[in-house]
Protein backbone atom coordinates (compact mmCIF):
# COMPACT_ATOMS: atom_id res chain seq x y z
CA UNK A 1 0.00 0.00 0.00
CA UNK A 2 1.27 3.42 -0.96
CA UNK A 3 2.90 5.32 1.90
CA UNK A 4 0.90 8.49 1.31
CA UNK A 5 -2.34 6.52 1.54
CA UNK A 6 -1.35 4.98 4.84
CA UNK A 7 -0.32 8.37 6.17
CA UNK A 8 -3.72 9.69 5.11
CA UNK A 9 -5.51 6.86 6.94
CA UNK A 10 -3.42 7.62 10.00
CA UNK A 11 -4.49 11.24 9.75
CA UNK A 12 -8.15 10.29 9.43
CA UNK A 13 -8.06 7.98 12.43
CA UNK A 14 -6.28 10.52 14.59
CA UNK A 15 -8.76 13.14 13.43
CA UNK A 16 -11.72 11.00 14.43
CA UNK A 17 -10.23 10.16 17.81
CA UNK A 18 -9.14 13.67 18.71
CA UNK A 19 -12.41 15.11 17.37
CA UNK A 20 -14.36 12.83 19.68
CA UNK A 21 -12.12 13.44 22.68
CA UNK A 22 -12.75 17.15 22.16
CA UNK A 23 -16.49 16.43 21.87
CA UNK A 24 -16.40 14.62 25.21
CA UNK A 25 -14.90 17.74 26.79
CA UNK A 26 -17.51 19.95 25.16
CA UNK A 27 -20.18 17.59 26.43
CA UNK A 28 -18.85 17.86 29.99
CA UNK A 29 -18.94 21.64 29.60
CA UNK A 30 -22.58 21.45 28.56
CA UNK A 31 -21.89 22.74 25.07
CA UNK A 32 -23.00 19.50 23.44
CA UNK A 33 -26.36 18.22 24.59
CA UNK A 34 -28.46 15.11 24.16
CA UNK A 35 -26.69 11.84 23.56
CA UNK A 36 -23.05 11.46 22.55
CA UNK A 37 -21.89 8.03 21.35
CA UNK A 38 -18.15 7.84 20.89
CA UNK A 39 -16.50 5.71 18.23
CA UNK A 40 -13.07 5.67 19.87
CA UNK A 41 -11.44 2.28 19.32
CA UNK A 42 -13.41 1.54 16.14
CA UNK A 43 -11.76 4.12 13.86
CA UNK A 44 -10.16 1.56 11.55
CA UNK A 45 -13.57 0.28 10.48
CA UNK A 46 -14.92 3.57 9.14
CA UNK A 47 -11.60 4.65 7.66
CA UNK A 48 -10.71 1.32 6.04
CA UNK A 49 -14.13 0.64 4.56
CA UNK A 50 -14.70 4.15 3.25
CA UNK A 51 -11.21 4.18 1.75
CA UNK A 52 -12.32 1.18 -0.29
CA UNK A 53 -15.41 2.79 -1.73
CA UNK A 54 -15.76 4.38 -5.15
CA UNK A 55 -16.98 7.97 -5.44
CA UNK A 56 -20.52 6.91 -6.33
CA UNK A 57 -20.87 4.38 -3.51
CA UNK A 58 -23.10 5.22 -0.59
CA UNK A 59 -22.61 5.24 3.16
CA UNK A 60 -25.28 4.93 5.83
CA UNK A 61 -24.84 4.18 9.51
CA UNK A 62 -26.34 4.21 12.98
CA UNK A 63 -26.12 6.86 15.68
CA UNK A 64 -22.41 6.27 16.42
CA UNK A 65 -21.72 8.24 13.29
CA UNK A 66 -18.96 10.81 13.84
CA UNK A 67 -16.27 8.51 12.46
CA UNK A 68 -18.17 7.81 9.27
CA UNK A 69 -18.94 11.49 8.69
CA UNK A 70 -15.29 12.47 9.06
CA UNK A 71 -14.08 9.51 7.00
CA UNK A 72 -16.27 10.46 4.03
CA UNK A 73 -14.58 13.83 4.19
CA UNK A 74 -17.25 16.05 5.71
CA UNK A 75 -15.91 19.42 6.78
CA UNK A 76 -14.89 19.30 10.45
CA UNK A 77 -16.19 22.84 10.93
CA UNK A 78 -19.70 21.93 9.85
CA UNK A 79 -19.69 18.64 11.75
CA UNK A 80 -18.56 20.35 14.95
CA UNK A 81 -21.16 23.06 14.40
CA UNK A 82 -23.82 20.34 14.26
CA UNK A 83 -22.55 18.92 17.54
CA UNK A 84 -23.13 22.34 19.08
CA UNK A 85 -26.56 22.72 17.49
CA UNK A 86 -25.58 25.64 15.32
CA UNK A 87 -27.17 26.94 12.10
CA UNK A 88 -23.97 26.14 10.19
CA UNK A 89 -24.13 22.47 11.14
CA UNK A 90 -24.40 19.73 8.54
CA UNK A 91 -28.07 19.27 9.49
CA UNK A 92 -28.63 22.96 10.29
CA UNK A 93 -28.57 22.14 13.98
CA UNK A 94 -31.71 19.99 13.74
CA UNK A 95 -30.03 16.60 13.81
CA UNK A 96 -27.23 16.70 16.34
CA UNK A 97 -24.59 14.09 17.09
CA UNK A 98 -26.75 11.15 16.01
CA UNK A 99 -27.94 12.68 12.74
CA UNK A 100 -24.95 13.89 10.78
CA UNK A 101 -25.37 13.91 7.00
CA UNK A 102 -23.49 14.82 3.82
CA UNK A 103 -25.53 13.91 0.76
CA UNK A 104 -23.00 15.44 -1.64
CA UNK A 105 -20.56 12.82 -0.44
CA UNK A 106 -23.28 10.16 -0.57
CA UNK A 107 -23.38 9.93 3.21
CA UNK A 108 -27.04 9.38 4.04
CA UNK A 109 -26.61 9.96 7.69
CA UNK A 110 -26.67 8.53 11.12
CA UNK A 111 -29.90 6.92 12.33
CA UNK A 112 -30.91 6.54 15.93
CA UNK A 113 -33.43 3.71 15.89
CA UNK A 114 -31.49 0.47 16.17
CA UNK A 115 -31.76 -1.31 12.82
CA UNK A 116 -34.00 1.33 11.27
CA UNK A 117 -31.54 2.33 8.58
CA UNK A 118 -30.93 -1.20 7.30
CA UNK A 119 -34.08 -1.19 5.14
CA UNK A 120 -33.14 2.30 3.98
CA UNK A 121 -29.84 0.82 2.76
CA UNK A 122 -31.79 -1.87 0.94
CA UNK A 123 -33.85 0.85 -0.72
CA UNK A 124 -30.86 3.04 -1.57
CA UNK A 125 -29.23 0.01 -3.18
CA UNK A 126 -32.44 -0.79 -5.04
CA UNK A 127 -32.36 2.70 -6.57
CA UNK A 128 -28.79 2.12 -7.77
CA UNK A 129 -29.69 -1.23 -9.28
CA UNK A 130 -32.84 0.27 -10.82
CA UNK A 131 -30.81 3.07 -12.42
CA UNK A 132 -28.08 0.59 -13.41
CA UNK A 133 -25.31 2.81 -12.04
CA UNK A 134 -22.97 0.10 -10.76
CA UNK A 135 -22.72 1.86 -7.41
CA UNK A 136 -22.89 0.00 -4.11
CA UNK A 137 -23.96 0.83 -0.55
CA UNK A 138 -21.93 0.45 2.64
CA UNK A 139 -24.33 -0.04 5.53
CA UNK A 140 -22.92 -0.06 9.08
CA UNK A 141 -24.59 -1.31 12.23
CA UNK A 142 -23.64 -2.68 15.60
CA UNK A 143 -23.84 -6.24 16.87
CA UNK A 144 -26.96 -5.29 18.81
CA UNK A 145 -28.84 -4.57 15.57
CA UNK A 146 -28.56 -8.16 14.44
CA UNK A 147 -31.23 -9.21 16.93
CA UNK A 148 -33.92 -6.86 15.69
CA UNK A 149 -36.49 -7.64 13.00
CA UNK A 150 -35.30 -4.89 10.70
CA UNK A 151 -31.94 -6.67 10.29
CA UNK A 152 -33.53 -9.88 9.09
CA UNK A 153 -36.07 -8.26 6.80
CA UNK A 154 -33.51 -5.91 5.24
CA UNK A 155 -30.87 -8.59 4.64
CA UNK A 156 -33.40 -11.02 3.29
CA UNK A 157 -34.88 -8.62 0.75
CA UNK A 158 -31.46 -7.36 -0.34
CA UNK A 159 -30.52 -10.96 -1.11
CA UNK A 160 -33.82 -11.80 -2.78
CA UNK A 161 -33.35 -8.82 -5.08
CA UNK A 162 -29.58 -9.32 -5.42
CA UNK A 163 -28.87 -5.72 -4.39
CA UNK A 164 -25.40 -4.13 -4.23
CA UNK A 165 -25.10 -3.71 -0.45
CA UNK A 166 -22.11 -4.43 1.72
CA UNK A 167 -23.37 -5.02 5.24
CA UNK A 168 -20.75 -4.00 7.78
CA UNK A 169 -21.47 -5.44 11.22
CA UNK A 170 -19.32 -3.52 13.66
CA UNK A 171 -19.07 -6.13 16.39
CA UNK A 172 -17.78 -4.08 19.29
CA UNK A 173 -18.80 -6.86 21.70
CA UNK A 174 -21.69 -5.07 23.40
CA UNK A 175 -25.13 -3.78 22.51
CA UNK A 176 -25.20 -0.99 25.07
CA UNK A 177 -24.16 -3.02 28.13
CA UNK A 178 -25.23 -6.48 27.00
CA UNK A 179 -22.52 -8.76 25.66
CA UNK A 180 -23.11 -10.38 22.29
CA UNK A 181 -23.45 -13.90 23.72
CA UNK A 182 -26.04 -12.70 26.21
CA UNK A 183 -28.23 -11.21 23.47
CA UNK A 184 -27.63 -13.23 20.33
CA UNK A 185 -28.34 -16.94 19.86
CA UNK A 186 -25.16 -17.17 17.84
CA UNK A 187 -22.09 -15.13 18.75
CA UNK A 188 -20.59 -15.32 15.29
CA UNK A 189 -22.70 -12.80 13.45
CA UNK A 190 -21.64 -14.13 10.05
CA UNK A 191 -23.77 -17.19 10.80
CA UNK A 192 -26.79 -14.93 10.63
CA UNK A 193 -25.70 -13.73 7.21
CA UNK A 194 -25.61 -17.30 5.97
CA UNK A 195 -29.35 -17.51 6.57
CA UNK A 196 -29.75 -14.92 3.83
CA UNK A 197 -27.46 -16.54 1.32
CA UNK A 198 -24.31 -14.63 2.17
CA UNK A 199 -21.07 -16.32 3.00
CA UNK A 200 -19.88 -13.56 5.29
CA UNK A 201 -16.39 -12.84 6.45
CA UNK A 202 -14.97 -12.14 9.89
CA UNK A 203 -12.24 -9.52 9.87
CA UNK A 204 -9.92 -7.95 12.41
CA UNK A 205 -11.54 -4.54 12.64
CA UNK A 206 -8.59 -3.12 14.54
CA UNK A 207 -6.35 -3.40 11.48
CA UNK A 208 -7.20 -0.79 8.89
CA UNK A 209 -5.36 -2.69 6.16
CA UNK A 210 -7.38 -5.84 6.70
CA UNK A 211 -10.52 -3.77 6.84
CA UNK A 212 -9.62 -2.08 3.58
CA UNK A 213 -8.73 -5.26 1.72
CA UNK A 214 -11.88 -7.12 2.75
CA UNK A 215 -14.12 -4.14 1.97
CA UNK A 216 -12.54 -3.57 -1.41
CA UNK A 217 -13.13 -7.17 -2.40
CA UNK A 218 -16.69 -7.14 -1.05
CA UNK A 219 -17.54 -3.88 -2.83
CA UNK A 220 -16.15 -5.25 -6.08
CA UNK A 221 -18.31 -8.35 -5.74
CA UNK A 222 -21.40 -6.29 -4.92
CA UNK A 223 -20.81 -3.95 -7.84
CA UNK A 224 -20.30 -6.80 -10.28
CA UNK A 225 -23.76 -8.19 -9.62
CA UNK A 226 -22.84 -10.87 -7.09
CA UNK A 227 -25.37 -9.52 -4.63
CA UNK A 228 -25.06 -8.34 -1.07
CA UNK A 229 -21.98 -9.05 1.02
CA UNK A 230 -21.51 -9.30 4.76
CA UNK A 231 -18.43 -8.46 6.79
CA UNK A 232 -18.23 -8.81 10.56
CA UNK A 233 -15.64 -6.38 11.84
CA UNK A 234 -14.27 -7.48 15.20
CA UNK A 235 -13.70 -4.28 17.09
CA UNK A 236 -14.13 -2.55 20.43
CA UNK A 237 -15.30 0.75 21.79
CA UNK A 238 -13.10 2.02 24.59
CA UNK A 239 -15.65 4.45 25.96
CA UNK A 240 -19.13 3.76 27.24
CA UNK A 241 -22.18 3.26 25.05
CA UNK A 242 -22.94 6.92 25.53
CA UNK A 243 -21.83 9.53 28.03
CA UNK A 244 -22.68 8.53 31.58
CA UNK A 245 -22.33 4.79 31.04
CA UNK A 246 -21.40 3.21 34.42
CA UNK A 247 -19.43 0.46 32.59
CA UNK A 248 -20.51 -2.24 35.02
CA UNK A 249 -20.59 -4.86 32.32
CA UNK A 250 -16.88 -5.18 31.59
CA UNK A 251 -13.54 -5.05 33.35
CA UNK A 252 -10.75 -2.56 32.99
CA UNK A 253 -8.45 -5.45 32.12
CA UNK A 254 -10.64 -6.30 29.15
CA UNK A 255 -10.45 -2.73 27.88
CA UNK A 256 -6.68 -2.65 28.36
CA UNK A 257 -6.30 -5.90 26.46
CA UNK A 258 -8.14 -4.46 23.46
CA UNK A 259 -6.08 -1.28 23.67
CA UNK A 260 -2.98 -3.34 22.94
CA UNK A 261 -4.43 -3.72 19.45
CA UNK A 262 -5.38 -0.09 19.16
CA UNK A 263 -6.06 0.65 15.49
CA UNK A 264 -4.05 3.84 15.48
CA UNK A 265 -1.19 2.14 17.32
CA UNK A 266 -1.21 -0.81 14.92
CA UNK A 267 -1.00 1.46 11.89
CA UNK A 268 1.56 3.72 13.54
CA UNK A 269 3.85 0.75 14.25
CA UNK A 270 3.44 -0.44 10.68
CA UNK A 271 4.29 2.98 9.28
CA UNK A 272 7.32 3.48 11.52
CA UNK A 273 8.70 -0.05 11.31
CA UNK A 274 7.97 -1.10 7.75
CA UNK A 275 8.03 2.15 5.84
CA UNK A 276 10.70 4.76 5.78
CA UNK A 277 8.88 7.27 7.96
CA UNK A 278 10.19 8.98 11.06
CA UNK A 279 8.19 9.80 14.17
CA UNK A 280 8.35 13.53 13.42
CA UNK A 281 6.22 13.09 10.32
CA UNK A 282 3.43 11.52 12.36
CA UNK A 283 3.75 14.17 15.05
CA UNK A 284 3.38 16.80 12.39
CA UNK A 285 0.12 15.15 11.37
CA UNK A 286 -0.98 15.05 15.01
CA UNK A 287 -0.34 18.78 15.35
CA UNK A 288 -2.15 19.60 12.12
CA UNK A 289 -5.14 17.61 13.32
CA UNK A 290 -5.10 19.46 16.66
CA UNK A 291 -5.10 22.73 14.74
CA UNK A 292 -7.94 21.59 12.49
CA UNK A 293 -10.07 20.60 15.47
CA UNK A 294 -9.33 23.80 17.34
CA UNK A 295 -10.43 25.77 14.28
CA UNK A 296 -13.59 23.67 14.09
CA UNK A 297 -14.42 24.38 17.72
CA UNK A 298 -13.87 28.10 17.20
CA UNK A 299 -15.98 28.02 14.03
CA UNK A 300 -18.74 26.16 15.84
CA UNK A 301 -18.70 28.36 18.91
CA UNK A 302 -18.79 31.52 16.84
CA UNK A 303 -21.53 30.27 14.54
CA UNK A 304 -25.07 31.54 15.07
CA UNK A 305 -27.80 29.44 16.61
CA UNK A 306 -30.59 28.48 14.22
CA UNK A 307 -33.03 31.34 13.70
CA UNK A 308 -36.40 30.97 15.42
CA UNK A 309 -38.17 30.56 12.08
CA UNK A 310 -36.03 27.49 11.34
CA UNK A 311 -38.33 25.62 13.71
CA UNK A 312 -40.91 25.44 10.93
CA UNK A 313 -38.72 24.97 7.87
CA UNK A 314 -38.05 21.63 6.16
CA UNK A 315 -40.98 19.77 7.70
CA UNK A 316 -42.17 19.31 4.13
CA UNK A 317 -40.53 19.97 0.79
CA UNK A 318 -43.83 21.43 -0.40
CA UNK A 319 -45.55 23.67 2.11
Amino acid sequence: MDKSILMDWYRQMVLIRRFEQRCAELYQQGKIGGFLHLYIGQEAVAVGTIAAKADGDHVITAYRDHGHALAVGSDTNFVMAEMLGKATGVSKGKGGSMHLVDVERHFWGGYAIVGGHLPLATGIALAEQYKETGNAVLCYFGDGSTNIGYFHEALNLASVWNLPVVWIAENNQYGMGTAVDRASAVSELIKKASAYGMEGQRVNGMDVLEVYESSKAALDRARSGQGPQFIEMMTYRYEGHSMGDPLRYRTKDEVEKWREDDPIGVLERHILQDLDVDKDSLETIDQEVEQQIEEAVIFAEESPLPAAEELFTDIYVEA
Partner: protein, 324 residues
Protein backbone atom coordinates in the same frame (compact mmCIF):
# COMPACT_ATOMS: atom_id res chain seq x y z
CA UNK B 1 -69.55 11.38 -18.33
CA UNK B 2 -68.01 7.99 -17.60
CA UNK B 3 -68.70 6.44 -14.23
CA UNK B 4 -65.95 4.20 -12.95
CA UNK B 5 -65.23 2.46 -9.67
CA UNK B 6 -62.77 3.80 -7.15
CA UNK B 7 -60.70 0.70 -7.78
CA UNK B 8 -60.49 1.59 -11.46
CA UNK B 9 -59.68 5.21 -10.62
CA UNK B 10 -56.76 4.13 -8.46
CA UNK B 11 -55.57 1.68 -11.10
CA UNK B 12 -55.77 4.37 -13.77
CA UNK B 13 -53.83 6.86 -11.65
CA UNK B 14 -51.08 4.33 -11.02
CA UNK B 15 -50.85 3.33 -14.66
CA UNK B 16 -50.81 6.91 -15.91
CA UNK B 17 -48.08 7.91 -13.48
CA UNK B 18 -45.98 4.86 -14.32
CA UNK B 19 -46.22 5.71 -18.00
CA UNK B 20 -45.39 9.35 -17.30
CA UNK B 21 -42.34 8.76 -15.07
CA UNK B 22 -39.97 5.80 -15.31
CA UNK B 23 -38.89 6.35 -11.71
CA UNK B 24 -42.34 5.40 -10.44
CA UNK B 25 -42.53 1.76 -9.43
CA UNK B 26 -44.73 -0.43 -7.26
CA UNK B 27 -43.63 -2.74 -4.45
CA UNK B 28 -45.59 -4.75 -1.95
CA UNK B 29 -47.09 -8.09 -1.06
CA UNK B 30 -48.81 -9.79 -4.01
CA UNK B 31 -48.80 -6.68 -6.18
CA UNK B 32 -47.27 -8.51 -9.14
CA UNK B 33 -48.14 -12.05 -10.15
CA UNK B 34 -51.30 -12.06 -8.01
CA UNK B 35 -52.29 -8.64 -9.32
CA UNK B 36 -52.94 -7.09 -5.92
CA UNK B 37 -55.18 -8.66 -3.31
CA UNK B 38 -57.75 -5.97 -4.12
CA UNK B 39 -56.94 -6.35 -7.84
CA UNK B 40 -55.73 -2.77 -8.13
CA UNK B 41 -52.55 -3.74 -9.99
CA UNK B 42 -53.96 -6.59 -12.07
CA UNK B 43 -52.01 -6.93 -15.30
CA UNK B 44 -49.35 -4.44 -14.25
CA UNK B 45 -46.56 -6.98 -14.09
CA UNK B 46 -47.20 -7.91 -17.72
CA UNK B 47 -47.41 -4.30 -18.78
CA UNK B 48 -44.47 -2.88 -16.83
CA UNK B 49 -42.32 -5.90 -15.97
CA UNK B 50 -40.87 -7.23 -12.74
CA UNK B 51 -38.47 -4.35 -12.38
CA UNK B 52 -41.30 -1.89 -11.83
CA UNK B 53 -43.89 -4.15 -10.23
CA UNK B 54 -42.05 -5.83 -7.39
CA UNK B 55 -43.45 -8.58 -5.24
CA UNK B 56 -41.99 -8.47 -1.74
CA UNK B 57 -41.84 -10.97 1.07
CA UNK B 58 -44.44 -10.59 3.82
CA UNK B 59 -42.23 -8.19 5.71
CA UNK B 60 -43.74 -4.79 6.35
CA UNK B 61 -40.76 -3.27 8.13
CA UNK B 62 -38.62 -3.58 5.04
CA UNK B 63 -41.45 -2.70 2.68
CA UNK B 64 -41.76 0.61 4.50
CA UNK B 65 -38.06 1.18 5.01
CA UNK B 66 -36.80 0.08 1.61
CA UNK B 67 -39.45 2.17 -0.13
CA UNK B 68 -38.30 5.16 1.92
CA UNK B 69 -34.65 4.46 1.08
CA UNK B 70 -35.37 4.13 -2.64
CA UNK B 71 -37.27 7.42 -2.50
CA UNK B 72 -34.38 9.15 -0.73
CA UNK B 73 -32.11 7.98 -3.55
CA UNK B 74 -34.19 9.35 -6.39
CA UNK B 75 -36.99 6.90 -7.17
CA UNK B 76 -40.74 7.36 -6.68
CA UNK B 77 -41.91 4.18 -5.00
CA UNK B 78 -45.56 3.38 -4.47
CA UNK B 79 -45.35 0.86 -1.65
CA UNK B 80 -48.52 -1.06 -0.95
CA UNK B 81 -49.36 -2.42 2.45
CA UNK B 82 -51.84 -5.17 1.85
CA UNK B 83 -53.91 -3.55 4.58
CA UNK B 84 -53.32 -0.62 6.87
CA UNK B 85 -53.47 -3.02 9.80
CA UNK B 86 -50.16 -4.46 8.63
CA UNK B 87 -48.69 -0.97 8.37
CA UNK B 88 -48.57 -1.04 12.18
CA UNK B 89 -45.50 -3.22 11.72
CA UNK B 90 -43.97 -0.47 9.62
CA UNK B 91 -44.86 2.44 11.91
CA UNK B 92 -41.21 3.06 12.66
CA UNK B 93 -40.23 3.09 9.00
CA UNK B 94 -43.08 5.46 8.17
CA UNK B 95 -43.02 7.75 11.19
CA UNK B 96 -39.41 7.64 12.39
CA UNK B 97 -37.79 7.49 9.00
CA UNK B 98 -39.87 8.53 5.98
CA UNK B 99 -41.54 11.38 7.86
CA UNK B 100 -38.41 12.57 9.67
CA UNK B 101 -35.47 12.54 7.30
CA UNK B 102 -36.22 15.83 5.60
CA UNK B 103 -36.38 17.83 8.81
CA UNK B 104 -33.86 15.86 10.85
CA UNK B 105 -31.18 16.29 8.20
CA UNK B 106 -31.80 19.99 7.74
CA UNK B 107 -33.62 19.66 4.42
CA UNK B 108 -30.76 17.83 2.71
CA UNK B 109 -32.74 14.63 2.14
CA UNK B 110 -36.19 14.30 0.64
CA UNK B 111 -38.35 11.21 0.67
CA UNK B 112 -41.00 11.22 -2.08
CA UNK B 113 -42.57 7.89 -1.22
CA UNK B 114 -46.24 6.92 -1.41
CA UNK B 115 -47.59 4.31 0.96
CA UNK B 116 -50.91 2.88 -0.20
CA UNK B 117 -52.95 1.15 2.45
CA UNK B 118 -56.49 -0.22 2.22
CA UNK B 119 -58.31 -0.32 5.52
CA UNK B 120 -61.55 0.06 7.37
CA UNK B 121 -64.20 -2.07 8.98
CA UNK B 122 -67.46 -3.61 7.86
CA UNK B 123 -66.21 -6.73 6.16
CA UNK B 124 -66.33 -9.23 9.03
CA UNK B 125 -62.56 -9.51 9.16
CA UNK B 126 -62.33 -9.50 12.93
CA UNK B 127 -60.52 -7.31 15.39
CA UNK B 128 -57.06 -7.16 13.84
CA UNK B 129 -58.00 -6.63 10.19
CA UNK B 130 -60.61 -3.91 10.51
CA UNK B 131 -58.86 -0.83 11.79
CA UNK B 132 -59.39 2.73 10.70
CA UNK B 133 -56.26 4.14 12.35
CA UNK B 134 -56.07 7.28 10.24
CA UNK B 135 -55.73 9.60 13.22
CA UNK B 136 -52.62 7.79 14.42
CA UNK B 137 -50.82 8.49 11.17
CA UNK B 138 -52.21 12.02 10.85
CA UNK B 139 -50.73 12.87 14.25
CA UNK B 140 -47.19 13.32 13.00
CA UNK B 141 -45.78 16.36 11.18
CA UNK B 142 -43.63 15.30 8.24
CA UNK B 143 -46.09 12.79 6.83
CA UNK B 144 -48.96 13.74 4.53
CA UNK B 145 -52.12 11.70 4.95
CA UNK B 146 -54.94 11.59 2.44
CA UNK B 147 -58.03 9.43 2.18
CA UNK B 148 -60.41 9.92 -0.73
CA UNK B 149 -64.17 9.42 -0.65
CA UNK B 150 -64.91 9.49 -4.39
CA UNK B 151 -63.31 7.92 -7.48
CA UNK B 152 -62.49 11.35 -8.86
CA UNK B 153 -60.67 12.38 -5.72
CA UNK B 154 -58.96 9.01 -5.49
CA UNK B 155 -57.49 9.43 -8.94
CA UNK B 156 -56.53 13.06 -8.50
CA UNK B 157 -55.10 12.66 -5.02
CA UNK B 158 -53.06 9.59 -5.90
CA UNK B 159 -51.51 11.41 -8.84
CA UNK B 160 -50.66 14.33 -6.57
CA UNK B 161 -49.24 11.96 -3.99
CA UNK B 162 -46.96 10.27 -6.51
CA UNK B 163 -45.73 13.62 -7.81
CA UNK B 164 -45.25 15.04 -4.32
CA UNK B 165 -41.71 15.39 -3.03
CA UNK B 166 -42.98 14.51 0.45
CA UNK B 167 -43.95 11.15 1.93
CA UNK B 168 -47.68 10.50 1.56
CA UNK B 169 -49.86 7.85 3.16
CA UNK B 170 -52.76 7.15 0.82
CA UNK B 171 -55.54 5.41 2.75
CA UNK B 172 -58.18 3.55 0.77
CA UNK B 173 -61.35 2.39 2.47
CA UNK B 174 -61.81 -1.13 1.17
CA UNK B 175 -65.61 -0.89 1.09
CA UNK B 176 -65.29 1.96 -1.40
CA UNK B 177 -63.52 0.02 -4.15
CA UNK B 178 -66.87 -0.70 -5.82
CA UNK B 179 -68.15 2.85 -5.36
CA UNK B 180 -68.86 4.40 -8.74
CA UNK B 181 -68.41 8.02 -9.62
CA UNK B 182 -67.80 10.32 -12.52
CA UNK B 183 -64.24 10.59 -13.70
CA UNK B 184 -63.74 12.30 -17.06
CA UNK B 185 -61.72 10.30 -19.54
CA UNK B 186 -58.79 11.62 -21.49
CA UNK B 187 -57.99 14.57 -19.27
CA UNK B 188 -55.40 15.10 -16.57
CA UNK B 189 -57.02 14.92 -13.16
CA UNK B 190 -55.06 16.38 -10.28
CA UNK B 191 -56.55 17.00 -6.85
CA UNK B 192 -54.16 18.97 -4.65
CA UNK B 193 -53.21 17.53 -1.28
CA UNK B 194 -54.45 19.61 1.64
CA UNK B 195 -57.60 21.03 0.10
CA UNK B 196 -61.03 20.25 1.55
CA UNK B 197 -64.04 20.22 -0.72
CA UNK B 198 -67.73 20.99 -0.30
CA UNK B 199 -69.56 17.94 -1.66
CA UNK B 200 -73.09 19.14 -0.93
CA UNK B 201 -74.41 22.60 -0.21
CA UNK B 202 -76.85 23.34 2.57
CA UNK B 203 -77.58 25.97 5.17
CA UNK B 204 -78.89 24.17 8.27
CA UNK B 205 -75.92 22.15 9.51
CA UNK B 206 -72.35 21.38 8.47
CA UNK B 207 -71.40 17.72 8.24
CA UNK B 208 -67.66 17.18 8.07
CA UNK B 209 -66.56 13.79 6.76
CA UNK B 210 -64.07 11.95 4.55
CA UNK B 211 -63.50 8.56 2.93
CA UNK B 212 -66.23 6.04 3.77
CA UNK B 213 -67.66 8.59 6.20
CA UNK B 214 -68.42 10.78 3.20
CA UNK B 215 -70.76 8.16 1.75
CA UNK B 216 -72.49 7.84 5.10
CA UNK B 217 -72.74 11.62 5.42
CA UNK B 218 -74.14 12.06 1.92
CA UNK B 219 -76.72 9.34 2.53
CA UNK B 220 -77.75 11.03 5.77
CA UNK B 221 -77.88 14.46 4.12
CA UNK B 222 -80.16 13.19 1.37
CA UNK B 223 -82.54 11.62 3.90
CA UNK B 224 -82.52 14.79 6.00
CA UNK B 225 -83.40 16.80 2.93
CA UNK B 226 -86.65 14.83 2.67
CA UNK B 227 -87.46 16.16 6.13
CA UNK B 228 -86.59 19.72 5.19
CA UNK B 229 -83.14 19.85 6.77
CA UNK B 230 -80.41 20.91 4.35
CA UNK B 231 -76.97 19.77 5.38
CA UNK B 232 -73.75 21.07 3.88
CA UNK B 233 -71.22 18.26 3.54
CA UNK B 234 -67.54 19.12 3.62
CA UNK B 235 -65.10 16.42 2.53
CA UNK B 236 -61.70 16.75 4.19
CA UNK B 237 -59.93 14.50 1.65
CA UNK B 238 -56.59 15.28 3.34
CA UNK B 239 -56.05 14.77 7.05
CA UNK B 240 -52.57 16.29 7.09
CA UNK B 241 -52.16 18.97 6.01
CA UNK B 242 -55.70 19.74 7.13
CA UNK B 243 -57.62 22.44 5.30
CA UNK B 244 -60.10 23.98 7.73
CA UNK B 245 -61.07 26.81 5.35
CA UNK B 246 -64.19 25.27 3.80
CA UNK B 247 -65.20 23.77 7.17
CA UNK B 248 -65.11 27.12 8.93
CA UNK B 249 -66.72 28.92 6.01
CA UNK B 250 -69.59 26.47 6.13
CA UNK B 251 -69.83 26.64 9.90
CA UNK B 252 -70.10 30.42 9.85
CA UNK B 253 -73.16 29.88 7.69
CA UNK B 254 -74.82 27.03 9.60
CA UNK B 255 -73.57 27.58 13.20
CA UNK B 256 -73.78 23.84 13.80
CA UNK B 257 -71.55 20.92 12.97
CA UNK B 258 -71.43 17.13 13.03
CA UNK B 259 -68.16 15.33 12.32
CA UNK B 260 -68.35 11.83 10.87
CA UNK B 261 -65.43 9.40 10.84
CA UNK B 262 -65.05 5.65 10.92
CA UNK B 263 -62.22 5.69 13.43
CA UNK B 264 -62.73 5.74 17.18
CA UNK B 265 -64.19 8.82 18.78
CA UNK B 266 -61.48 9.23 21.42
CA UNK B 267 -58.50 11.23 20.22
CA UNK B 268 -59.95 11.04 16.73
CA UNK B 269 -60.37 13.19 13.62
CA UNK B 270 -63.69 14.44 15.00
CA UNK B 271 -62.01 15.57 18.19
CA UNK B 272 -59.52 17.58 16.16
CA UNK B 273 -62.15 19.17 13.92
CA UNK B 274 -64.38 20.02 16.86
CA UNK B 275 -61.50 21.60 18.73
CA UNK B 276 -60.49 23.69 15.75
CA UNK B 277 -64.04 24.84 15.10
CA UNK B 278 -64.40 26.10 18.65
CA UNK B 279 -60.94 27.71 18.57
CA UNK B 280 -61.43 29.45 15.26
CA UNK B 281 -65.19 29.87 15.08
CA UNK B 282 -66.29 30.18 18.70
CA UNK B 283 -68.50 33.21 18.08
CA UNK B 284 -70.55 31.22 15.60
CA UNK B 285 -71.15 28.27 17.88
CA UNK B 286 -74.88 27.66 18.40
CA UNK B 287 -74.82 24.10 19.65
CA UNK B 288 -72.41 21.40 20.81
CA UNK B 289 -70.37 19.94 17.98
CA UNK B 290 -71.38 16.31 17.57
CA UNK B 291 -69.06 13.45 16.78
CA UNK B 292 -70.26 10.32 15.02
CA UNK B 293 -67.58 7.68 15.18
CA UNK B 294 -66.86 4.02 15.76
CA UNK B 295 -67.91 2.71 19.15
CA UNK B 296 -65.01 2.07 21.50
CA UNK B 297 -64.74 -1.68 21.06
CA UNK B 298 -62.46 -4.00 19.10
CA UNK B 299 -64.49 -4.89 16.02
CA UNK B 300 -66.18 -8.29 16.34
CA UNK B 301 -66.63 -10.85 13.59
CA UNK B 302 -70.36 -11.46 13.76
CA UNK B 303 -72.02 -9.27 11.15
CA UNK B 304 -74.73 -7.51 13.13
CA UNK B 305 -72.44 -6.95 16.09
CA UNK B 306 -69.79 -5.42 13.87
CA UNK B 307 -72.32 -3.17 12.13
CA UNK B 308 -73.57 -1.99 15.51
CA UNK B 309 -70.14 -0.56 16.24
CA UNK B 310 -69.75 1.24 12.92
CA UNK B 311 -71.05 4.54 11.69
CA UNK B 312 -74.21 4.68 9.58
CA UNK B 313 -76.68 7.22 8.24
CA UNK B 314 -79.23 6.83 11.06
CA UNK B 315 -76.58 7.73 13.63
CA UNK B 316 -75.62 10.81 11.64
CA UNK B 317 -79.29 11.81 11.27
CA UNK B 318 -79.80 11.36 14.99
CA UNK B 319 -76.79 13.54 15.76
CA UNK B 320 -78.00 16.25 13.39
CA UNK B 321 -81.47 16.25 14.90
CA UNK B 322 -80.05 16.71 18.37
CA UNK B 323 -78.64 20.11 17.39
CA UNK B 324 -80.86 21.41 14.58
Amino acid sequence: MAKITMRQAITDALREEMIRDDNVFIMGEEVGVWGGTYAVTRGFIDEFGEKRVRDTPIAEMVIGGAAAGAAMNGLRPVAEFMTINFAFLALDAIINHAAKVHYMFGGHIKCPVVFRAPGGGGRQLGATHSHTPDAIFAHFPGLKVVSPGTPYDAKGLLKSAIRSDDPVLFIEHATLYQLRGEVPEGEEIIVPIGVSDVKREGSDVTIVAYAQGLSVAMDAANQLSNEGIEAEVVDLRSLRPLDMGPVLESFRKTYKAVVVEEGYRSYGIGSEIAARIQEEGFDYLDAPIKRVAQLEVPLPYSKDLEQAALINAPRVIEAVKEIV
